[in-house]
Symmetry: C2
DNA sequence: AAAACCACAGAGAACGTTTTCCCTGCTAGG
DNA sequence: CCTAGCAGGGAAAACGTTCTCTGTGGTTTT
């Protein structure tokens, strides 16, 4: 039998209500407070969070639903969200959908049942569409993937502008055959693709967009098809994220292409190892901590201002030039 | 006001108890079952998990506490644990301690308050020591880091043997000055260090153990000190994990060392990018899915057999030879 | 000095379930 | 035909808190 608030109350010779007040930090006679605290330590009392949440009707819990935890971008954001949330006394329920809309729906349902305070969500494409129609009991902040007309608050980076930056970089280096590899399933992919297309147009060179599926085997097949014919091979690539980049590297390795001589690579996301392949890759670094922090802040803010208009925070990425393009950082 | 089980009961014209029974899948007249299900859909009822947990006294929740989610090894294990747990109808509370024993203690306390069913834990060194003395209300399964005499169930890999494998590999390639870089704060680091030491002895060459702190800046300073003096520089390294390896690469890059010509690298963990640096790195791949799966299984098993003796599962790693050492896999 | 107020403690309801207990009606066995 | 047994449904307690309401003692205000 576990020790409850009533046991503490008996030991401290006060009422359960008083124990509750002490624990909640409400004003209580110092004498009693000491007695209660002593009793808490003596009994080894630990509050039962289920009971607390049931009665108080707030769970102090946020859900964090990401599409792919193996993607270091999401790992990094998750870490930040977790750290900040716990700082603010919020618990985090962590969910990984693996880009599966059904799993995502299941998790959103679970969030309802948990009666979470709010949710931070990187939706699948279908999920993003559905969110617009469904109304949930809790506020949602979308991260990374959010259509400009989304019906929720969102925090994203300026994907189009950043993709353009990569194109311009490659163009300056003299590349004229620049292919763009983008995910088929996400808003983010489409935005980056748009930015790529427009930049290619402005540079006056024809774009070649390659839609890449999320699943690795399939992705590698698509990429192989793009690269294996030397005569039609692009000289440079804009790649949509670090996971896709790994598929590119594997295929390039199999085809014995040397980076960047046979193929110049640029990508979104900045992982430490990118410094060390192909003489250093030029990339767009996303402000992962700031994304996480902003998301939590927006969520908290939304709780206080339930019917404030929908807000969209667009953060800038950071272009990092490496390798043949010269070292350095450029905002 | 949210819809509760009573509302459903009223709509279906049955008692709340019956609704509860239907939802729990207990035997109920088919007619009533249909009425209840209809009412559930009509009202949009979602069970309140807090209430359910409070009353039923089981939370169907496991805690997963890892030391560093940025370490891809833990990311991979977490993903597996999450997937398997949800398959079995268990919720996962995910916690990241950042190698901070205080945070770890705080989280373990939280697990108590959540009344979790069990915990899977990759402890800090201090945590591992403390676990031995503390008695908790729930079973704990240690992963990755567990002293052989641990008082909990544990699932680990054969660190010493795997470290030895790396040493032997390098020795066969002709290396005689092989330094070993190991974490200072974990059982795992010490085990790998022991294996390294013994293997070096057996090869008849003097070992050079370099204790590397977890924090990146400090780690890089230590590594720089090891590598900067060309005359005393080892020709090969055994590195304890992929995070540490990144520090090594950064330092090597700054010192303009070419891998593997100036410095051969081998490491624990197998990340996709390791194929592409220094012509491919030879590594020990850990069976991450199996670790996760085994941990969950052991935890569940322990619930049924509370006073079964402590079990320790030791899994084999997989040696993957790449680069100058030749391609291929060897058990 | 009386009235009004304030601060704080205790009693008991309430949160939304599951579970226990009892009651009913049906079936089977003598 | 009567009774024992059984299956399933309803009433109400229980889970461990917080919250509301009331009461009391002391302080301020008029």
């Amino acid at each position: 039998m576990n020790v409850g608030i009533k046991d503490v109350a008996r030991v401290a010779a006060v009422s359960p209500a008083t124990v509750s007040r002490v624990l909640a930090g409400r004003p209580v006679d110092p004498d009693m407070r000491d007695r209660v605290m002593a009793a808490v330590h003596e009994t080894g009392y630990r509050p039962n969070l289920a009971a607390r949440r049931l009665r108080s009707r707030h769970t102090n819990t946020i859900g964090l639903i990401v599409a792919d935890i193996r993607n270091p971008f999401f790992t990094a954001v998750s870490r930040t969200v977790e750290a900040i949330a716990y700082d603010r006394g919020l618990r985090v329920i962590f969910c990984n959908t693996d880009e599966d809309a059904a799993k995502e729906a299941m998790y959103l349902q679970l969030m309802q049942e948990e009666r979470v305070t709010g949710v931070i969500l990187a939706p699948t494409r279908e999920g993003a569409d559905r969110i617009a129609h469904v109304e949930s009991d809790f506020p949602i902040v979308l991260i990374d993937r959010a259509a400009p007309n989304a019906s929720c608050d969102s925090v994203v980076i300026d994907n189009a502008a950043m993709a353009a930056k990569l194109v311009v970089h490659l163009h300056r280096l003299g590349h004229r055959r620049i292919a763009g590899l983008f995910g088929t399933d996400t808003v983010t992919g489409r935005e980056r693709c748009d930015g790529y297309r427009r930049a290619m147009e402005e540079c006056g060179i024809p774009g070649q967009v390659v839609p890449v599926p999320h699943e690795r085997e399939q992705a590698q097949r698509v990429i192989a098809a793009l690269l294996e014919d030397a005569s039609r091979r692009p000289s440079a690539l804009v790649v949509s994220n670090s996971v896709m980049l790994q598929s590119v590297l594997r295929v390039a390795d199999a085809l014995e292409l040397e980076i960047p001589r046979d193929l110049a690579l640029t990508s979104f996301d900045n992982e430490p190892w990118m410094e060390f392949v192909g003489g250093g890759l030029s990339v767009i670094e996303q402000p992962v901590e700031e994304i996480g922090r902003t998301a939590v802040t927006m969520l908290m803010d939304r709780l206080d201002h339930a019917d404030c208009v929908t807000r969209r925070v667009v953060l800038a990425g950071r272009f990092i030039a490496r390798g043949s393009g010269g070292r350095g950082v450029e905002a």
